[in-house]
């Protein structure tokens, strides 16, 4: 397992492997190939997605399977849902998760509900890949983290990887899955590198990963914020505080057990979620622990989240918007009742 590639490459590779394995897998979205029907364009020069994540796929799989769509999210997302329920296994790319505003109905009222409304007689094996996350200087309409919205919708599964390894394995699991899966990709993690095996493997949906063991407190991170948590944990270790870092990886289903048993061990919980603070994953996990894990809690549950504001453009404001290791350390210091706050 010595090969090191980027998150972006890991995702690209997962799509290629899935498409080789199953001829019913197609990829559709805006410019996922790029340059459709441009005469002079060689497919190796095609865009491959707005940030190049799907580059090269059209060369191997052709334009019948890598489908550029018009800017019509409702149109192609609804098409993906029905294609899935009639025999294809589409991967639909919603370029930025913020654009769910243009196609929520197709997800919320169509794809997610077909199976139930139809008494179990339909299945919708679609994967929606979408970019999220702040820190890219992309401002209010291109930087949100809307996974809570999808997590709240029965019928959907929701996955947010924090490493290239997980991204590849979870994406393959998502494509294999017979339910609709929303797969979140943090645009600021595309260049993150890590060890990724070459072949086909899956990471099970619904299984959290303890990314670091510890006994003094539990930090649950969502997506990129797992890395914030790990960074904070590193600093804390230097001060003799051992944080356990849990990466749920899949938000729906959520592996409550792993979280609860970590808290049973550490008796303290901090959750890091870069989404806006109201009704997000941090509140969700806090509520679960405040119910089922109440007896093991020795201290208040702390949430490190974005503030209740849109994502600002200005770099210093955006930096302040996001959770940071400092903020995590600050919360931990409050939690452990240290009077003077810790610093890096």
């Amino acid at each position: 397992m010595a090969r090191t590639i980027s998150m972006s490459e890991a995702i690209n590779e997962a799509i290629a492997l899935a498409m080789r394995k199953d001829p019913d897998v197609v990829l559709l979205g805006e410019d996922v190939a790029g340059g459709a029907e441009v005469d002079h364009l060689q497919d190796e020069d095609a865009w491959g997605g707005v940030l190049g994540v799907t580059k090269g796929l059209v060369q191997e799989f052709g334009r019948e399977r890598i489908l550029d769509t018009p800017i019509a999210e409702a149109g192609y997302m609804g098409a993906a849902m029905a294609a899935a329920s009639t025999g294809l296994r589409p991967i639909a790319e919603l370029m930025f998760n913020d654009f769910i505003g243009s196609c929520l109905d197709e997800v919320l009222n169509q794809g997610a509900k077909f199976r139930y409304m139809f008494g179990g007689k339909a299945q919708v094996p679609v994967t929606v890949r979408t970019m999220h996350g702040a820190g890219f200087r992309a401002a209010a309409q291109h930087s949100q983290s809307l996974y809570a919205l999808f997590t709240s919708i029965p019928g959907l599964k929701v996955v947010v990887p924090s490493t290239p390894y997980d991204a590849k394995g979870l994406l393959l699991a998502a494509i294999e899955d017979n339910d609709p899966v929303i797969f979140f990709e943090d645009k600021t993690l595309y260049n993150m590198t890590g060890e990724v095996p070459e072949g086909y493997y899956t990471v099970p949906i619904g299984k959290a990963d303890v990314k670091r063991e510890g006994s003094d407190l539990t930090i649950v991170g969502i997506g990129k914020q797992v890395n914030t948590a790990l960074e904070a944990a590193g600093h804390l270790a230097g001060r003799g505080i051992e944080a356990e870092v849990v990466d749920p990886r899949s938000l729906s289903p959520l592996d409550e057990e792993t979280i609860l048993s970590s808290v049973a061990k550490t008796n303290r919980l901090v959750i890091v979620d870069e989404a806006n603070p109201r009704c997000n994953l941090a509140t969700d996990i806090a509520a679960i622990v405040a119910d089922k894990g109440f007896d093991s809690l020795d201290a208040p549950i702390k949430r490190i989240t974005a503030p209740h504001t849109p994502v600002p453009f200005s770099p210093p404001l955006e930096d302040r918007y996001l959770p940071s290791p400092e903020k995590v350390i600050q919360a931990v210091s409050e939690l452990l009742g240290e009077t003077s706050s810790l610093s890096l």
Partner: protein
Amino acid sequence: MEVLQNKGVALTQDQARWMYRKMLEIREFEDKVHELFAQGILPGFVHLYAGEEAVAVGVCAHLNDKDTITSTHRGHGHCIAKGCDLDGMMAEIYGKATGLCKGKGGSMHIADLNKGMLGANGIVGGGFPLACGSALTAKYKKTDNVSVCFFGDGANNHGTFHEGINLAAIWNLPVIFVAENNGYAEATPFEYASSCKTIADRAIGYNIPGVRVDGKNVLAVYKAAEEAIQRARRGEGPTLIECMTYRNYGHFEGDAQTYKAEPEKKEHKQEKDAIIQFKKYLLTQRLLTENELASVEESVIEAIQRAVRFSEESPYPKEDELLTDVYVSY
């Protein structure tokens, strides 16, 4: 087998009987649902298709079980024309366990994928993208199946109309977009809400064929659908067909229909009635005899009575059904 020609429509006796039967099934089914709702027996929002039978039947006459349709909130007629089981449909509207969707969907969500019926849809405009999706499957898998998207004049102003038809056009998908222009969206007239002179006009913006036909004339619908469906099967892409029709009942059960003018209501139940017209045609053309028609009528009435009995006698779903069928696995 005897074949009759009329205005370019060639119906065999079997086809004629099938069409007459389906139109009657729809009418009787809806009249019965109307009655049951008025008695407080049926719950929910119920939108009846009575009056529009010629559209669903004229189109679905050309489809097989592998062809798919998307439907609307006013979906019972589409279901029946596409071959859904009447017992299962009625039981679904009752919310019974024997319903086509085990009672979980209800009137607005009846579906039967085995029959190519992709679901009634409570969301106006919901069907356009879905029809593209099943057509994409057909095209990708190189079958010659088609998708039909039924939609109302109100849906014609929703964004999904535009996105769906454009997508079907650029991808050359085998979709037939069938507008059921019954003059109203709830209480809002077509002319008020739609800037186009005809829905068919809008086809120009997608560079596809668009026609308007008399949707009360099942032969006119049949013929327009035949051309469009054959084009689609040949891989020549989508068509937009606008059928001028009328709903006999209100928008939903309970609607006082104050917005409808009296003469208009009357004529649609009499000289313009699609079933009366078709029956006259069948008789004058000697396609079916009075006796044959009567036996269809009798058998339909029985079938509807049976469906009601079946539904009444069926159990409600068990309580734990609440939690199943959300996922394939979770």
